[in-house]
Symmetry: D2
Subunit: 361 residues, 4 copies
């Protein structure tokens, strides 16, 4: 188990889906940062379940109780621990299929790895519920960046066959600020209805649907990122794959570079008001693992919720006999929606971490 | 700078494209592993330049001189250092455009980060040349895996518009062994001519072309990978983005999950001869960051070589004035080809690292 | 701040002396270890204050509430979080000398480092109170070692001028077991009265007294410790200096080697019942940073409690004017006594960490 | 094996005593530092053997060949690799006692740990010879500190029964500068003759003698050190025990605190010219793991050279039979003398590392 992110900002996660509480310890934040806890609540509310028809009906308030590291609203330099209680647990939902490993989940792999001792209820420590703790940590880090003029925002790039517009080469700060407060963030809000329809289509079939998220970070100064092994892409990707369900990531032009020529893909330099820009942003704000000053842009692919209400072939891990499985728990039909603030949060941690390491914050 | 990969296997890279030598130190390899240096030479030859018309004419023998850590052919437990001399340097190629930052390279970002003190000749320490040292380290690690029955192989998945077949749900060990020795590895060798044509088309236009690589690792036991932050995807992706030019990575069904339903994407479990499998492999051999025993499959997008013979708009970093740039150096028209053994190498390091950390090797 | 020990066993500490709670997250413990929480309580009781006349009258029950990582008494492989509430806080004790930095404490250094934002009440996060959380983590780790036959025990080696006997070349397992349950552990119990007298002598003068602790670990197998930088001495010493007040550490013959000749200091090898021993143990069970199979023996020097009831010259950190300081809080006259289980705890973490890293546990 | 120090400054050591070369890679040094290689040579010469009658007659020039990371005399931000060739090897000296494990060396422990595969000739990778590479790295780091007004100097504190004066509460910069260039550094040079006599006394008896070293670092600003786990004492001690033969370390009053009262040991604060000092320095410049601005002072105990010309009881590791051993190699009669620049070097690395991590350099 490696529930500690040990960068220059250090994040320790703990807790299980059906335990008393989950939580997080954030170490390495400078002393003297005024923390806006309402801001953190907004981010946690964006992620929390039970808000509407397209998210699980598990209803968690997700109030983070700060145990340490903050005095009179300011960080003290000591580790910040936050506890988030689990209040709406229905472990009996899992009794029905005890010992039946759920396809698409980590039940099988974690059962073998932890030799049957791990808490399988609701995914235990590997549950998506832990992303609440990630969001707390990220919302704390991102306001430190925002105070210094860096803005992080993501939108639902696609759900099933329905696509939003893309960031293309860049995006205004205002748009990022708007996105970062929205519970269904889109560049083109007219796409919302079709996306909801797409989700409900699968929900009505007791099924789920995948999606993708696009994230941008504006105004990161030139020079962030530590090649060779801790470049921006390495740091960001490593953190994104900590989100359950993420199966791919691409920066800038991403997989499109595969069919591009060098003359198309290279972003040429221009000087405007004595500042250096590129006139396109296929490089996604990163060259050689180092930020270029252009918006850092990436997209992640999020798989459909593995918990579905359809009957699936599976097996009993104890008897090793095949058995049919019907999951009756409460689940999101599309986890990509609630993953948006988590993506923003982990991106914030990556950037703050790299800037701290470089002595830039 | 973070030229040290500090896992359970530790890799230290050093050297510059136009310096005396590059090199690598591999620490953490168990004592008593018999090392096949011919095997390492084969891998380094697959990567080395100057072999044919579709690679740069810079002719480097890339003979690795082992300085430490090996006695009578066996690892001693001490760090293994290998030096690779630079023999065919033509720094004058870079004189022509001194101070002109090359689009698509790290010239600008590293110049700012290192305040003008970094060695820009040929990309300095951020040159693709360092992948020779990565290949040494990886070839050393992968034979330790192979001796235990794990096989790593990659193929050119696409160049421009020309696509090879894909691994789909899995691949035979024999195929991986064949691929891992090939200098132009393909599943369907009939695609080679069209791919070469595609490359030469761009080469003839003084341009370059992107490509993608697909890699599989067979027979990794269940239980490798340390969630939450050091899952297989996190480790592998973090290392892949250490390769210059990689802009995207996807595991299993990858970005296709975006349009898939849960019932399509979930891989159902079956039991064959008392062993547990999934009847498809959309999860790419990884669930919850932990290996499932199925082949680990991923694809990376490699951008077109940024060094092209076409005139480009750029600027002089000292004067901050725009200038035209014409690069006359020796460059690969498609770096994806030579990146294949590098992808395999870093994948090997990731898996050995995780297995070592889990006490499995 | 670096409140995370990031070894193969990972320890995250959080909390402040006068906050709601302190706590610890232990990550990296294998799944399937049956945890004896009574055992942990015994260790925490040995350390806890308020028990008798020679410890501070601050009365903390120090009951650790386990939040995560344990199911049905067994570790799950997930991080184990324990919370310890602060129940007997008297912050008003600190009001009297607000802004007056206490000599011998970290008030001044932490005030400057954290630019006045840190919680100074009772030392905040740098308080000796955090050793309760260390003891929880250590008591958890040491029972994993004990189940495998390794025993850890320490005794008060000296208080002021009164010395206990020393371990010399080694010690029986039974003695270590006895020591590890004692609240005033001594090899020679007849020394207790004189030591208590020594403590009370200084207590009566509103002063405090230093002491030293000797610790032994029996039956650590040969081969534990990772030279060059993570040898047993490096790991153990690095952790011991995390205990407030420790100012020195020595292994085996320690500072006595300074006056010894090689022929005196070298421990000669002997074979008994086909097992290899040394006939003396000046090397303290460690050669080249690697355990030799002989008892690992070390001593630490613990300074006298800096909080004393005598008037001291100091200064007001805000006005930078010299001021007299009289501390009226509740303090141990000799912190060495309560530090014994902390020393054992951190030693246990060091050994478990190294064994885990080497795949030996 | 853990031959990488992975701080904010990263040090990778490689090589064996009887291999072709040893070397070091230093990563994390800022770009733009002008390196004085003569300065490095001076430090390496202080450490190198073969200079005089009281050091081994193995004659190594110890010229470090810089392979990477420096351009036109300035650091480039890329890792700096230096190679030091082994030129005067006499492996036949070790033939005589092949398979006989030398008391006081790591022969036995490393043989077991590395299952007989490690290079035992001259201690292999665990040889004191590796301290040449440490000295290169340290001499590089310390000049970065010196340029910023911090001075590091150590002296031979004692050899056998002969003691130099001590630093007491502090020392002038000039003295540290003088010490840091001396090959037999003493505060009181009149002690030299007696010390040499002491060494020769043991040398003439085919024996060796222990010693101790005292080191001071002046002008480290307040606030260096990351409690709880990376305080100055933790960092420094962890590195000191990487030096073969070091068996103890103490800071400030060190083991003397054991017999001191709080009122004696506490250093009171005073204000002079608006700067804050303590009027004594029992805390050795460190409170709560954080530098106080006072000189950082510590002492290490160095054991007598384990290689002695006297017959010793030992055993053949292959036959497990006891055998007599007579070592005829070339050895220092007192390794403490040549360890002085190594102590200074590692102290420099520790301080630079902590300052870099705190964004102070």
């Amino acid at each position: 188990m490696s529930s500690i992110y040990n960068g220059n900002i250090k994040i320790t996660l703990f807790g299980e889906s059906h335990g008393k509480a989950i939580g997080v310890v954030v170490d390495g934040v400078n002393a003297g940062e005024l923390i806006d806890f309402d801001y953190i609540s907004i981010q946690m509310r964006r992620r929390r379940p039970g808000k509407n028809s397209i998210s699980t009906s598990r209803n968690e308030l997700d109030e983070a109780k700060v145990v340490s590291g903050v005095l009179n609203g300011y960080t003290t330099g000591a580790p910040i621990c936050a506890l988030i209680e689990n209040t709406d647990i229905r472990s009996q939902d899992y009794k029905n299929f005890e010992n039946i490993i759920r396809p698409g989940h980590a039940d099988y792999t974690s059962y073998i790895k932890y030799r049957g001792y791990n808490d399988l209820r609701g995914g235990g420590h590997l549950s998506g519920r832990l992303t609440a703790a990630m969001t707390f940590a990220g919302a704390l880090c991102r306001q430190i960046l925002e105070k210094r003029g860096m803005f992080i925002g993501a939108h639902i790039y696609s759900i099933g066959k329905v696509y939003d517009k893309g960031f293309c080469n860049g995006v205004d700060d205002d748009v990022l600020i708007r996105l970062s407060k929205s519970e269904f963030p889109l560049l083109d809000n007219t796409k919302k209805d079709n996306m909801i329809k797409e989700i409900n289509y699968y929900k009505d079939m007791c099924d789920s649907i995948g999606g993708s998220i696009e994230c941008a970070i504006n105004n990161v100064p030139v020079g962030v990122g530590e090649p060779i092994f801790d470049g921006v892409e390495s740091k960001v990707s490593s953190l994104m794959f900590a989100i359950p369900g993420v199966k791919g990531i691409e920066f800038g032009a991403g997989f499109k570079v595969v069919g591009m020529s060098g003359s198309e893909n290279n972003d040429e330099y221009i000087v405007k008001n004595e500042k250096i820009y590129t006139n396109s942003n296929n490089h996604g704000g990163i060259l050689g693992g180092i930020s270029s000053g252009m918006p850092i842009i990436f997209r992640v692919a999020v798989k459909p919720t593995p918990s579905i209400g359809k009957e699936q072939c599976s097996l009993n891990i104890k008897t090793k006999k095949e058995e049919l499985l019907l999951i009756r728990g409460r689940h999101d039909p599309c986890i990509a929606v609630r993953a948006v603030p988590v993506v923003e949060s982990l991106a914030s941690i990556a950037i703050l971490d790299l800037m701290k390491g470089a002595g830039m914050i």
